[in-house]
């Protein structure tokens, strides 16, 4: 494996700087955002590298769990911010975060205990990257599906209420939009699985190969990750849409759009 040093990374950074300069000449205001994002990448990844180093040297369940929940709460905030008409109050945060907890944590623990079988099972070298991949992907699925659901409830409120007026239950009246929301949350991972290896080489696999792993081993891990991600995204999306659809109605099955924030 070729060790990277700071000079190597600075040379790569030059490419971003050149791109930013070209953007300025095109009078596009994207260059500022580009530089900020690049700096964030460098700082955030350096920090997480340091954190992981400390974590790997002190293998205790407490520290791993602390890290895991920190990642969860950050991802939960991200899910909330990505929804245009999110639920008001703590529900806006809790619905997505809880669904992510349910799916990502369950799937990660399952993979660690049943599939990988390390000793201890929470070995941070496996637990943290796995959880990170799962959170990152379920985050997308949950954010997309909840955004889609609340959006549909708002846009199609007349239809939903018309169906209630004809004696349908709230479940029946919103079933179509629930289906659509789950679908749109799942589409990215389905596409990623369908295109994997043909259109794109997945990032994790590429990283492993660059770091010196045998392609066959890297591929096995990538397949495992893909399956875990699709299971996690599916579970998380189903949970989020179920919670969301329930929250859209009160105990008398009235459509409660006042529970959603204005965009």
């Amino acid at each position: 494996m070729v060790e990277l040093n700071t000079i190597d990374l600075l040379i790569a950074a030059m490419l971003v700087v050149v791109l930013a300069l070209m953007s300025i000449r095109l009078q596009s205001n994207i260059s500022r955002q580009l530089i900020i994002a690049a700096v964030r990448t460098a700082v955030q990844l350096t920090l997480i590298g340091l954190v992981l180093k400390v974590l790997f040297e002190n293998v205790t369940l407490g520290w791993v769990a602390l890290m895991a929940f920190f990642m969860l709460f950050v991802a939960g905030r991200e899910v909330m911010m990505r929804q245009e008409r999110r639920f008001k109050g703590w529900w806006g945060y809790a619905a997505g975060t809880f669904s992510m907890f349910l799916s990502s944590f369950a799937v990660t623990v399952f993979a660690l205990v049943v599939i990988l079988g390390n000793d201890p099972w929470y070995a941070p070298q496996y637990a943290i990257p796995l959880l990170g991949m799962l959170l990152g992907n379920t985050m997308n699925g949950i954010a997309i599906s909840m955004d889609r659901l609340t959006h549909a409830a708002w846009e199609q409120r007349h239809i939903i209420e018309a169906r209630l007026m004809l004696g349908e239950t709230s479940d029946e009246a919103i079933s179509e939009y629930r289906r659509q929301a789950v679908r749109s949350g799942m589409i990215p991972i389905i596409n990623a699985m369908a295109a994997a290896g043909i259109v794109s080489l997945p990032g994790m696999m590429t990283g492993q190969i660059l770091a010196g792993a045998l392609p066959v081993d890297a591929v096995k891990y990538q397949i495992l990750i893909m399956f875990l991600i699709s299971a996690g995204t599916g579970l998380g999306t189903l949970a989020a849409v179920k919670i969301g659809a329930r929250r859209l109605f009160d105990d008398r099955q009235r459509l409660c759009l006042d529970r959603l924030r204005e965009p």
């Binding site: 007349h158 209420e161 018309a162 004809l166 709230s170 009235r254």
Partner: protein, 210 residues
């Protein structure tokens, strides 16, 4: 033997800007409400159908709404909103198969059922929405300007369709209408709504048939 409870009883119903409203409707009653737009007529109907939160009590044959599952309540106390909604591609998809529809009586033929919803005129939508509601056999009809988009001929057809249903099924009707002549034709009780309250009105030249 004690007297049977009224079909629909509304006790001090209140919501923002509305009420308290108390009404009693017996089988066959047709109560018309008119009033300026924004006076709360539609909001009152929505509260009775239990689509919006409200205070006070609404009872059907003596049973309070809270004691009845919401979907059952709304299929027995059916609301026809001013704008109809359609969510399936063709008209017939919105109707149950087992119900004969009396479409000729309201100036339409059965062929309209095969049409895509997007091709319907506003008047056709309004009449079909009424038929769709009636096919669920509600005991109370809450009609929010059911003839607003109709010409005089079809207005008369819809009026007699509703009157026929009310008699045949011993239903009660609350009918929001801006047309005073229509009120005189169909109502046995008449209220004016202003600032969220109902004021009883005289019905002149009453020709109402119970």
């Amino acid at each position: 033997m004690s007297k049977a409870p009224p079909l629909l009883q509304i006790n001090r119903l209140r919501r923002l800007m509305i009420g308290p409203v108390s009404l009693v409707l017996d089988e066959g009653d047709c109560l018309c409400i008119s009033g300026a737009s924004g006076s709360g007529k539609s909001l009152l109907l929505r509260a009775i159908a239990d689509l919006d939160p409200h205070e006070g009590q609404v009872l059907l044959q003596g049973v309070p709404a809270e004691a009845i599952a919401p979907e059952v309540w709304r299929s027995r106390v059916g609301l026809l909103p001013p704008e109809s909604s359609w969510w399936l591609p063709r008209v017939k998809n919105h109707f149950r198969d087992d119900m004969p529809l009396l479409l000729e009586q309201i100036g339409m033929s059965d062929s309209i059922l095969e049409q895509p919803v997007a091709r319907l005129s506003s008047g056709e939508r309004q009449r079909l929405a009424l038929m769709r509601l009636l096919s669920h056999r509600p005991q109370v009809l809450l009609l929010d300007e059911p003839t607003a988009n109709l010409d005089p001929v079809n207005t008369r057809r819809v009026e007699s369709m509703i009157t026929g249903y009310r008699r045949a099924h011993k239903a009660a009707v609350i009918w929001v209408s801006h047309d005073v002549e229509q009120v005189m034709r169909v109502a046995n009780r008449y209220y004016e709504m202003s600032k969220g309250e109902l004021q009883p009105q005289e019905i002149e030249g009453q020709q109402w048939l119970s």
